[in-house]
Assembly symmetry: C2
Homo-oligomer: 406 residues x 2
């Protein structure tokens, strides 16, 4: 017997038939003797509609009212799912964030979970009842409804799994797991049986949009075992776990790519203390998310600084930098939207030399030029021309032996 | 300066444009120096959709889950209306039933308000903030959301007006007041400036569906002055007040009619104690609402018993009576769906003789036969053939001098 949290996203509860399917899936686990808590998102499309209404009434609306409005999506699904479970003989009841409560900080619209009071839910699960928890929402210190930001239902599920000391948190979604790379690019991509939290974080933030990044961070911190699996097919997904649980560590677990970034280069920036802060401070204030940052050794007292930002933020980035050109003192700023970022991710590379060289050789063999390189402990990222993305991903997938047999 | 509760129904908040219109209306009262609390219904159609979903998943669904689901309609409107108010510079915040709290009993789906804690709202109104309260909902003793039954937002508004000691409770709706009769039948029907609670009760339950009956009862009990007015036109509506506030008491305030009732007659029922209970007890258990009841003096130890039920309940009524025919011991049961009920209502008739006779003569003059008569202190009702409804209403409206000067 295990204690499970089962989380169903918007497409999994998009209409009454799918809610019935969800109920049947939950019943199967209950019948198998498990203690089950369910977390649900809003029915697909509902949250967008509610957000659009708030936006239309006032672009700069009160985040507390936004929270009261958008949290209703999950409230509806929690009640309907409880009804669907009861209809097939499963004892169930809905729980709203304020009822449990899921205590959060007061940052309405993007609140952080501080504490979930799990005692009452555990008692009811032990007595055979299935709590159906409205995801995405909590209760702020002002006794008002808070929401956790887009994708927040994953976070609700992981936080609840931690509070309930669940053996596993199953995230049901419209993909059946985490793949070595995008199967649309590499048909021989393999579904990973297991992936380490750290790898998942790198994969998630690199565009393999399976799990919300914050929920992976929380799972890693609280050591919650997460499974990503399909709500439409009945087969195991990918387990996201501590690397200690991964016996056969692969050198490289996956190849990720992103075409959403643009490269910005500041030439001949004076090489003095505080210069990075002078560049990136104003960008942070302008709400620009900076990803890769590369600074090379200087020559004659100046250096070149290259970094990437989201393509959507590029205009704002350039405006900000030009407004501060006097303070920063660069000779020239250039931007390039025609790049793609390709990353090789794997906890195994920590203990192995030569991983980077395999990458560079594979790309060179296809005549792909590398413009920028950054590395972390478990990741190597390069910028290349955007039109070489597919070629690069396929080459690397093969070079690291990730192609499925067949 | 007055303290006002302004309640807006589903058609008044049906879309974002109407919500903006509501906000502008509220702002006008705030600008005039009044303290204002707002109560809102769900956007038109939303509640029906939510109810249909619960129904489709399980016809006999858990009323507690139903409440969690359907209460979201008002939650959305309260948040959106607060945003719309803020957008035009009015300090406002939404309040859910559980936040105030609006304490109810535990009868989920049709809960009764027990107590509203008004102190915090009054303090905020005095400080210039407009509370926007989600109607129709409260908090049960089980710490779960309750709803007050269909039309319950009127009840929320009246109960809130009582708790806030408001000077008036304005019910904005899609009609501009209470008329002497249905203007579709009598074009010269007049809008009443004032109507007594007791009259409004008789008018409301007779089919002038302007205000939910329970909300009128509560207003009468708590002496809340209620105004019914249009949310689309800017003019005074009808004040529902204590009869002491009505200086010029009219003999008859209005003519009401209902085509929704069917007549049932039990012939030769034994005239003995307990016979009425034997008939109406089982009907109550079968959830049949009985309206008029007439029993005439008996002859040779039996009597005829006539009553009316909703047409939709007629089949169930006859089934119930036939199943109990042995216990009741009637000779024959007959039913007639071709009737209409016409009622003359007015607090003035208490102190005046001859009101009934005016009615009987007016109907006789048009050759309309009266099948059944019942009277109360402020109402005379008759059953006639359904096809004479319009003729009867027009004749009575004229006979009591209610026609507007043309």
């Amino acid at each position: 017997m295990a204690r499970l949290v089962m989380k169903f996203g918007g497409t999994s509860v998009a209409d009454l038939d799918r809610i019935r399917t969800v109920a049947a899936r939950v019943k199967r686990e209950v019948d198998a003797g498990h203690e089950v808590a369910v977390v649900v998102s809003a029915m697909a499309g509902v949250t967008n509609q509610l957000v659009a209404w708030c936006q239309a009434l006032s672009p700069l609306h009160d985040a507390r009212e936004y929270d009261a409005v958008v949290a209703t999506g999950e409230q509806v699904t929690s009640g309907l799912t409880a009804i669907a479970l009861q209809a097939i003989g499963v004892d169930a009841r809905s729980w709203q964030g304020w009822q449990i409560p899921v205590a959060t900080d007061g940052a309405h619209g993007k609140a952080r979970v501080q504490r979930i009071e799990g005692g009452e839910l555990i008692r009811r699960m032990q007595a055979g009842q299935v709590p159906v928890v409205a995801g995405f929402q909590g209760l702020g210190p002002d006794n008002r409804i808070t929401t956790l930001g887009r994708g927040g239902s994953d976070l609700s599920a992981v936080a609840l799994a931690s509070a309930l000391e669940a053996d596993r948190c199953d995230i049901f979604t419209d993909v059946d797991g985490v793949y070595t790379t995008d199967p649309r690019i590499v048909p021989r991509a393999r579904k990973l049986e297991r992936i380490a939290y750290e790898e998942m974080l790198e994969m998630a933030s690199l565009g393999a949009k399976v799990l919300q990044t914050r929920s992976v961070e929380l799972a890693m911190k609280e050591r919650v075992r997460v499974q990503v699996l399909s709500s439409f097919e009945d087969k195991p997904g990918t387990l996201v776990v501590d690397e200690d649980e991964i016996v056969e560590k692969e050198l490289v677990s996956g190849i990720a790519y992103s075409r959403d970034e643009a490269k910005v280069t500041l030439r001949r920036v004076p090489d003095r203390p505080g210069i990075a802060a002078a560049v990136f401070g104003p960008l942070a204030e302008a709400n620009v998310n900076v990803d890769m940052i590369v600074q090379n050794v200087s020559a004659d007292g100046t250096t070149d600084l290259t970094f990437t930002v989201g393509k959507a933020d590029l205009a704002r980035t350039l405006d900000t930098l030009r407004a501060r050109s006097g303070e920063i003192g660069y000779a020239e700023v250039s931007a390039d939207s025609g790049v793609a970022k390709i990353s090789v991710v794997g906890i195994g590379m920590r203990s192995h030399a030569g991983v980077a060289n395999t990458m560079f050789r594979a790309l060179a063999a296809r005549g792909i030029n590398i413009e920028v390189i950054t590395t972390s402990e478990i990741k190597i990222s390069v910028l290349i021309r955007e039109d070489a993305t597919e070629l690069a991903v396929r080459a690397l997938h093969a070079a690291y032996g990730l192609d499925a047999a067949g």
